[in-house]
Amino acid sequence: MAPEPETAKPAKTAMKLPVLVSSPVDVGRLVRELQVIDESMLQLKLRKGTAAVRLPKTSQLMDQTAQLNKLNLLHVADRKQLQTFLETVVAKAPVLHISFSADPSVPFIEKLITWLRREIHPQILLTIGLQPNTGAGCMVRSTNHYFDFTLRKKFADNHQLLLDKLAPKAGKT
């Protein structure tokens, strides 16, 4: 019997975040966009019989979110459900701060967030930082911990090994 994957338990909801929504800023954008949609729909409802009200154009993030969760944003109930979910995410989703030596590309972030949401937490969010002196790898800062996965840390851990390898050669010169 295969052991269950060790993942943190998500909030009691079946909704998911698309991989493009990776940071609290993206969630904030979704919240604001949903508010705009709500207001547009309210205006549409109030102006019934008059000139047509243009619905705001939804972003790719909102489209993916709605599509992933099978929501129809024209329905009030679906919008309400999405709003509740987003508020829950803003309030409770764990946030990891990861620093790289260079700006990561979008596919890289997608792969990373996919792994993190599969292995760590389904609603986990990322904030990306930049540490050019790390060489390679990354530094992860969670709520209370700091994880150094950089090449610099690896070198520091193997300092004595490098010294042992270099010392005889240096002694010969």
Binding site: P94, E119, I120, S142, H145
Partner: protein, 210 residues
């Protein structure tokens, strides 16, 4: 100068002697006749001599002698004045020559001393400069040795520091050289493996720290 004076005095004495001899010869021719007339009595001889003296050295003769003496004296005075003048001129010229020579010699001597003192001062200055040069050379050698020692010590210290921090240097070099060359995509597997290793700690931190 002295020879002229001596010749002049000898000439004077000679002329006076000749005049006395001539006078004696002349008186001697007249004397036998007078001696024959007063030969016997002794008192008459003395009186005859006195008369002869009075007759010979009468006033005219005395006046003539006085005039002759005066003339001779004036002549001597004149000659002496001329000789004195010549001598004075000669003396003046000699004195001038002497003064000129003395001054020249003195000046030469002083200039010689001056040149000697200048040479001494120059030699002293050269010696001083040479001593200063020698001291500067010595100081330069000392300073050069010190600088060499300092450089050697600094080099050894740098080498020691380099050996002590060789690992850090290698790390830094590798990080600087490799860090910018590795693409993040290539690092993904490494990052995910590290996260997989620390997954439990991350999950516990997320659950406990929320």
């Amino acid at each position: 100068m002295t020879i002229w004076w001596l010749a002049l005095i000898l000439a004077t004495i000679g002329s006076a002697g000749i005049a006395f001899i001539w006078l004696a010869v002349r008186l001697g021719r007249n004397a036998p006749a007078a001696k024959l007339g007063s030969k016997n009595p002794a008192g008459t001889i003395e009186s005859a001599a006195k008369e002869d003296v009075d007759r010979i050295f009468n006033n005219e003769f005395r006046e003539e002698l006085r005039n002759r003496g005066r003339l001779h004296f004036e002549k001597i005075i004149g000659e002496n004045a001329m000789f004195l003048q010549q001598d004075l001129r000669l003396t003046m010229s000699q004195l001038n020559e002497f003064m000129k020579d003395e001054i020249t010699n003195k000046l030469k001597e002083e200039f010689g001393k001056y040149e000697e003192s200048i040479d001494d001062a120059k030699q002293l200055a050269i010696d001083s400069i040479q001593k200063t040069n020698v001291a500067i050379d010595e100081q330069r050698h000392v300073l050069s040795d010190q600088v060499q020692q300092e450089i050697l010590a600094e080099k050894q210290q740098l080498m020691k520091r380099f050996e002590d921090n060789m690992a850090d240097i290698v790390n830094h070099y590798v990080l600087a050289a490799v860090g910018s060359q590795i693409d993040l995509t290539d690092q993904l597997d490494y990052i995910l493996s590290e996260m997989e290793t620390n997954k439990k700690a991350i999950i516990e931190d997320i659950l406990s720290g929320a």
